[in-house]
Every structure is written in C-alpha cells, then in structure tokens.
C-alpha cells in the first residue's frame, strides 16, 4: 500500500522530506505561536498542558502597554533610521572605489573588505566587547593618543546603540558592497562614452549615470538591512544584554528573555507573532515595490 503510494507519485520521494521539515518547523510554528499567544502558558503549563488557560488577547494588550517592549521596538526604529543609511552609503562608497580599477590590488582590497561578512556574529560581538571596553579597549586607547576623552561605548544609552550600529555596519559592508559592485559592473560602457562625448565630468557621470542606475541595488540593500535590524539578536545579547537599562534591547532579545529566562511562553509567543507580522508586512511591501521598480525599467 505504502509502496504503491510512492510508485504512483514518484515525485513524493524527492519532495516529501523537505516538505515535512518545513511544515513542522516553519509553517506549523506560526500557528502554534498564534495559539499559545492566546493562553497564559508558562513553566507549569509546559509540564502540564491542562493547567494552561485561554486568555484571549490579553497578552497582546499587555505587550502594547509594556514599556520594555515599546523600548525594544523604538530601539529597533533607531537602528533602522541610522543603520540603514550608514550601511547604504558606506557599502556604495566602497563599491565605487573598488570599481575604479581592475588589477590584483583591487581584487585583494575586495577580499579585505569582504572578510568580516563571513565571520560569526557571536565571535565578533566578543571581539568588539573588548575593543569597546572603557579601560582596556583599543578604541579608547587610540582616542587617548589624540588627547581625546574616553567614550563610554557600551555604557551610555545612546552611544551604546550607535556602537552596535557601527559594528553591524562593519560586518555587513562586505556583503552589500558586492551587490553594488555587481550593479556598477552591469552598467553598459556606451553610457559613459556617450556622456564623455557630451563633455561630462567625472562627478557628473557619478551623479547622473551611476547613482540613478543603482536604484534597484540600493533598494535591495536598504530593504534587506532593514529586515535584518528587526532580527537583531546576538550582538545585544552578548555585548550589552540589552542594556544599559534596556537601551540596546531588540525585539528578538525581548522575546528570548520573556520565553527562556522568565518562561512566560504565552507572552513571548505574542511577541513572536507580532515580530512575524512585522517581517511579513515588510517583505510583502518589498515585493510590491520591487515589482513596480522592474516595471519602470
């Protein structure tokens, strides 16, 4: 019987393993999150599901009123507002420089700029924790060489956010500059030639040919970086534990703390579902805009 099922549907042998895993560990969990978010599930409930009570939308109401959650949300907005433009400008700048010539030097430089992208966030967070250290860190030592005062990199509420942004930008420049570089190298040579015949200067070529034609790449980098900030987790967890006083907390870290530190699974599930809805909305908007963008070209 089982045998006939597969011989009538040979494709099943191939797609079934992946389908089962994706259904059980990716699609089904979203429904579980929604279901659990309507209950008061906690550690006792985890051991004995009979103890779990249905509480309606109470968790969502609490979430909206929760100062900690609101702070994590607005921290994320801060990361997006300053982090996205920084990543776009920095990686575009590097890409323009790397596009300047073609020889072994440029290939080697590309490798150097790319290197941080392959490293793991955890190790990088530990390394930057040292570099940012008030007393023993390299950054404050370099500042002292110029007679500049020490910067409280990770202990001041706003500077700590900026420090995390700088580190994340450092790590993502490599990946994003490749996107820009690919786009730059895709610009047809006759565009430049035509501009030269018209007597365009270098900066004019940059401003009127390169930048407008990079629209799609810019959009891609900006939107993936934006979605990335909503998933920010390892760096604040390892470097600041979300502090000082919650000022670097992220939505993902908030969910983690509620779920796995305090065992408030119902509440954490509500946070998870909200995060899912935010990312779903952002992805769908990105899709829509991308289609429109392609339509114009």
């Amino acid at each position: 019987m089982k045998f006939r099922f597969f011989s009538n549907r040979p494709y099943m042998i191939f797609i079934l393993p992946a389908l089962i895993i994706l259904s059980v560990f990716s699609i089904f969990p979203i429904f579980v999150a929604l279901g659990v978010s309507l209950t008061d599930m906690n550690l006792i409930g985890l051991l004995n599901w009979n103890q779990v009570q249905f509480v309606g939308f109470e968790n969502y109401m609490d979430l909206l009123a929760d100062k900690e959650f609101r702070q994590a949300f607005f921290n994320t907005i801060f990361y997006v507002v300053f982090g996205v433009p920084l990543v776009v400008v920095a990686s575009l700048g590097v890409a323009l420089l790397l596009d300047y010539g073609k020889n072994k030097f440029f290939t080697a430089a590309r490798a150097l700029f790319y290197m941080p992208s392959v490293t793991t966030s955890v190790a990088i967070a530990v390394v930057f924790g040292y570099l940012y250290n008030n007393h023993y860190g390299l950054f404050n030592y370099v500042l002292s060489l110029f007679d500049l005062p020490k910067v409280p990199w990770l202990t001041h509420p706003i500077i700590a956010k900026i420090s995390l942004i700088l580190m994340a930008a450092w790590k993502s420049i490599g990946f994003n500059m490749i996107i820009f570089l690919a786009a730059l190298q895709g610009i047809p040579k006759d565009y430049y030639e035509a501009a030269e015949i018209d007597g365009a200067k270098k900066w004019q070529k940059l401003l009127y040919i390169k930048v407008p034609l990079l629209g799609f790449a810019t959009f891609f980098v900006a939107s993936t970086t934006l979605i990335g900030w909503f998933q920010f987790f390892e760096e604040p967890m390892i470097m600041t534990k979300g502090g000082p006083v919650g000022s670097t907390n992220s939505i993902a870290l908030f969910i983690y703390d509620k779920g796995f530190k305090l065992s408030e699974f119902g509440y954490a599930a509500a946070g998870s579902f909200v995060l899912f809805l935010i990312i779903l909305a952002l992805t769908l908007i990105q899709f829509k805009l991308r289609k429109k963008d392609n339509g114009y070209n």
């Binding site: 549907r9 040979p10 494709y11 042998i13 191939f14 797609i15 393993p17 992946a18 389908l19 895993i21 994706l22 059980v24 560990f25 990716s26 699609i27 089904f28 969990p29 979203i30 599930m41 590097v94 790397l98 300047y100 010539g101 030097f105 430089a109 490798a111 150097l112 700029f113 290197m115 941080p116 392959v118 490293t119 793991t120 966030s121 955890v122 190790a123 990088i124 530990v126 390394v127 924790g129 040292y130 007393h135 023993y136 390299l138 450092w170 490599g174 996107i179 690919a182 998933q231 969910i255 983690y256 779920g259 796995f260 699974f265 599930a269 998870s272 579902f273 899912f276 990312i279 769908l284």
Partner: protein, 274 residues
C-alpha cells in the same frame, strides 16, 4: 597635465582602499594577536600589537580546562548534518524541477513563503513543539529544524530546470529508475551548485548559535558559538582567553574564505545570506 591629475586621483583611491582594508580587518587581527598574549598583556596600557611572546597557553586552556573539545565536536556534527540537509534540499529541488504533479505551483509557493518566517519568530513555538516531541536537549532537536531550507531548494530547482528532459528520458528508456537517474545523471551535473551550497552550509553550521542555545541545556550539546558566549560570561576580564575562543571560531572560516573566495562571494550574493 591630465595624465598627472589622473594618477594623483588613482593614488588617492589606492591609499583610501588600503587604509580602509586595514581598518576593516584590524579587529580580526587584533583578536588573533591577542589570543597569543597573557591575560595581563591583553590589559596593559599602552597595548601591544604583537604579543611579547607568542604563547599557545590560551588555546591549551580552551581544550584542557574548558570544554571546547566537546563544543568543537558538536559543531562538526552540525556541519556533517548540514550536508545531509543539502542532499534533502537537492532532492526537493529535483522534485519541483523535473516532475509534473497536481498543485505543484501552489506547494512550491508554500515552500518559498517559509522564507518570510524568521527563526527569531519561531524560536518559542519551535521550542514548545520539540518539547512535546521530547527532543529538547538532544542533538536531534538541534539538527532537525535546520535540515531543509527554502532558498536552497529554490536554487536547485532553478539549476535543474536547465537539465534537458531528453537526457532524463533517455536514461529512463535504458531502464534506470528515478533514484538512479537522480544519483547518476542529475547529481553529477549539479556539482558546481553543490560546491557553493556545501561551503555556505559549512559556514552556516559552524556559526550556528541561536537554536543550539535554546535547545541545549547541558554543556555536552553546546556548539562553539554557545560555548564562546558562556566563556565570555564566566571570564569577564580575561580578554586574552575571550579572544582565543573568538579566534578559534573566526580563523577556520577566514582560511576557507581565502581558498574559496569566488564560491563564497557568488553564493552569498545569490542567496542573500548575511
């Protein structure tokens, strides 16, 4: 005149790129150099770039006094299973590329839709599901959820659609079954994409953190990433040791990157991985 101006500009580009390149890699080298220092030297002012003496005591400490041998073994187990995951994705890609069946498009869109579901949103429900299955604090629980990935399936499907149907039909007429066609005809053609995905899979498994952190309760199951975060928490002021743990995670990936740069850059760009 023009020539001179151009070369000055060129020189400036070279200088900026060189300085930028050094700045970009400085944190990595700083960590690696510090890993060979003593704890005291890592905290001295002014700091030294190179260690006074290149000591490997910190590395010994990781493996002898701390449990990094176990963490390394667990990480390598995850790496090995990432290759099984690659195989599962490749099979699914083939199923979607070369078979016709009812609702194929719909099922494939469902697979793609899972890309919109981030691990940070499913960590709580997935933990509850694994708990019900009795798989929390087991290696199986750490491995299972990561075995299939929509984007890899998508890439394999795209690639396999370019394989001519005639080639597959010819083998079928020669009496080859589905599995044999897949293993002996399709898989060899896919070598280039398998290479890229295997390298990406290695890096991904090597760097894995969030999921093992949640599922593993005992140190026996920790990966390098989880072990490193534990080490940082327990040795707050031993920066040399912290840098040693970090270097242990960073250096193998950098070496892999230097050898397979082309594959990695290509793979990262097409898959949108970060």
């Amino acid at each position: 005149m023009n020539q001179q101006k151009l070369s000055a500009e060129r020189l400036l580009v070279y200088i900026v790129l060189l300085a930028g390149g050094i700045l970009m890699t400085l944190p990595l080298f700083w960590a690696i150099f510090t890993s060979f220092k003593t704890a005291a030297e890592a905290m001295q002012t002014p700091p030294s770039l190179f260690p006074n003496e290149w000591l490997i005591d910190n590395y010994k400490k990781l493996f002898v006094e701390l449990n990094f041998g176990t963490y390394l073994r667990n990480t390598l187990v995850l790496v090995a299973f990432s290759f099984l995951g690659l195989f599962i994705n490749m099979m699914a890609g083939y199923g979607f590329a070369k078979f016709k069946f009812k609702n194929k498009e719909k099922i494939f869109y469902l697979v793609l839709a899972t890309m919109m579901i981030p691990g940070q949103a499913t960590m709580i429900p997935n933990y509850l599901i694994l708990n019900k299955m009795g798989l929390t604090n087991t290696m199986a629980g750490i491995i299972l959820p990561g075995l299939a990935g929509a984007f890899t399936i998508f890439l394999f499907r795209q690639f396999m659609e370019t394989i001519p149907d005639d080639l597959i039909e010819a083998s079928r007429i020669d009496g080859a079954g589905n599995i044999r066609i897949f293993m002996q005809i399709v898989a060899p053609i896919c070598k280039p994409i398998i290479a890229v995905q295997a390298i990406l899979g290695f890096i991904h498994a090597w760097n894995s953190f969030l999921w093992p952190l949640i599922v593993a309760n005992s140190e026996d199951l920790y990966t390098l990433g989880v072990g490193l975060s534990l080490l940082k928490g327990q040795n707050v002021s031993d920066f040399a040791l912290q840098m040693t743990g970090s270097s242990l995670m960073i250096v193998p990936v950098i070496i892999l990157f230097l050898f397979c740069q082309k594959y990695i850059v290509e793979g990262f760009t097409t898959s949108g991985l970060k």
